[in-house]
Amino acid sequence: MHKHFQHTSIRRHLRLSFISALLLCFGFTSLAAAQTRPEPFRFGEVDLEFLDQIKQLDKKFGDRGLVYREPELNAFVDRVGRSLLKPEETLENVVWQFRVMRNPAVNAFALANGSIYVFTGLLARVENEAQLVGVLAHEIIHVRNRHSYLSYRSYRKKVLTVNILSAAAGILGGGLEVGMAAQFMLALSVIGYSRELEKEADLDGAQLMTTSPYDPKEMIAALDCLRQKYEVDLDGEPFYGDHPKTNARIAYLNEWLSKSATKRETESAGLSKEDYQKNVAEVTRHNIQLAIDAGLYRTATTLGKRLVATQPELASNLTALADAYTALGPRTLDPLAEEKSGQGKKEARKRRSKLTLQEEERTLAATTAGQERQKINQAEAEKLYRRATELEPNYPLAWRGLGELFEKQKQSSQSIEAYRKYLELQPAAMDRLMIMRRIKTLESK
């Protein structure tokens, strides 16, 4: 008994020692990573291999249709991005490219090779050019300060430490606890390190903006704008997220601004909301369709309303908003209080994990309240489509939208008529066969 106690006690002591060793190792490696950042950055073999893989990934995005191509918009984003770069500045293994990713999420990221991706969802969300510059400045700093390489190096060092300690624990009897503790420490330390880098990207990015015609305050405005949520937030901000929380980011940027920002002699550039909206109108319409496909109906509708507010006499804008209202179907534009409650979120999460988008739609539309809302949204959509066809009678997408709306309302003859008009205006449409089949089905009813 005593022997067993002694044995257990030694094992416990060993485990505790391993966990303490882990803490120390992670402390030292994090400290080392933070303090011994090589200046200037020197490429090692591992970095070059990493770069090769990144280039392949970059190519894949383009090959797979994930990159949005619209010459005017691409030129606009490129011009805005390059306004932050010095013409004479060259950076080893970096070719600056500013690209747009077809994705309705509000996001942007930078690859180590200098490709910076802004999502269509973010372009459609920020309010002016200067806010976009704020986002790009943050991403440029990630590339310029070689954050991807540093993160990757740090991650590799830490995993190696974990593996060596796990092996030692395996041999000497540290047990499962040590392995689990090591994995947990690894996750925390990697995130902690990247949060530091994110903060650096924010602060250096704001500094970079001071050298451009844009006001760094707009970086804060961008953060403020991007944290607005149009959908019910089912995920929340995870505690293990790699970015500092938005409130904290705004706070330290404000603090930095109060200490460092110099007074501008000329007026800041890129503040016009209207000009920006016009520049991103087409990509916003594209993003509305992507948002609808992704089930982000409220986002789609809110963005559509913004488009129409800027250019209310444009058939394409009216049609995009009408499409969003049709898709909004049995939902309200703003989430209801019950949807935002804990129980409401729980039910929504359950629905999203179990049901397909079509099934979810049917479930919501089966309730009396859902039917009422659907009627209201469909009426709004019809009004907008009609207005679009009045303004531009030959705008095909408005007719297609009307066809779809009437089909949903089971008004077959009106749907067929609208679909036919669409095909008449766009006989070589890509979805020709799809529409023809729909007409055939409606005719057989």
Binding site: K60, R156, V159, L160, G170, D293, S353, T356, M430, L433
Partner: protein, 244 residues
């Protein structure tokens, strides 16, 4: 003291390896329309198929963590697509030349977007299919008639979605696995996931998932074709594969 209590991680690893290793396919689910089909049917439900670009991702699990393997995944993509074509052809199904070659897509941005959107919609639906595989047999899942955007000549019966992912092991990791008696650190794993959808209605007609331990990115695809043929075993055979 039992091994499950003294060495739970080792026990779990062994159990997992035991469960996974001998299983060539983790599930083969067919839509009622395919289930009711008889081999050599005069009007088969599917006869002419197009394999959509495979989504392949590999990582190398080493002593210093996971390394991306984008280049290796890109090299393995055509190998997997060809092996799948061989497996389908062996069932007397006609695999049409893909209209979505990199060259075609390069010149047609709209087609590229339509393909990307369809693959994204499938990936979204896949989460539900994976969790409720049996529901494929109830005909629950559909991509909608949007599939017709990629079937403009109406000559395709079904699209084949394929994704493969794998974790290769470095020498160091294997050595660590030996030291720690952990087979999961030694043996590489590859998952291949295949979905077949009606190219007119969008209904998901078949779904299968398989796991293997051999390198699926190898030029010599004999083993891979064997595994794929096995995991498509329940798929009704066609009459005679057409010559394209």
């Amino acid at each position: 003291m039992s091994i499950s209590r003294s060495h739970p991680h080792l026990f779990l690893s062994l159990l997992l390896s035991f469960l996974l290793a001998p299983v060539p396919a983790l599930g083969q689910r067919l839509h009622p329309r395919l289930k009711g089909a008889k081999p050599g049917d005069a009007n088969p439900v599917i006869s002419r198929l197009v394999i959509l670009p495979a989504q392949v991702s590999f990582v190398k699990d080493g002593m210093k963590g996971n390394e991306p393997q984008e280049k290796e995944a890109a090299a393995a993509t055509p190998i997997i697509e060809k092996a799948l074509a061989k497996a389908l052809t062996s069932k007397n199904l006609t695999v049409l030349d893909s209209p979505f070659t990199p060259e075609t897509l390069q010149n047609d941005e709209k087609l590229k977007y339509a393909l990307a959107d369809l693959q994204r919609n499938y990936a979204e639906l896949h989460g539900k299919i994976f969790k409720n595989q049996k529901d494929v047999e109830k005909g629950r899942f559909s991509l909608g008639d949007q599939v017709l955007l990629l079937n403009q000549d109406d000559n395709i019966d079904a699209f084949v979605f394929v994704s493969a992912s794998g974790q290769r092991k470095s020498g160091g990791k294997k050595a660590l696995g030996v030291v720690m008696l952990n087979p999961l650190m030694i043996v590489p794993f590859y998952f291949i996931d295949i979905g077949i959808a009606d190219a007119r209605s969008g209904e998901v007609l078949a779904y299968t998932l398989t796991v293997t331990t051999f390198d699926i990115g190898k030029e010599d695809d004999k083993k891979l074709v064997e595994v794929l043929t096995k995991c498509l075993k329940k798929l009704p055979a066609g009459t005679t594969a057409e010559k394209k």
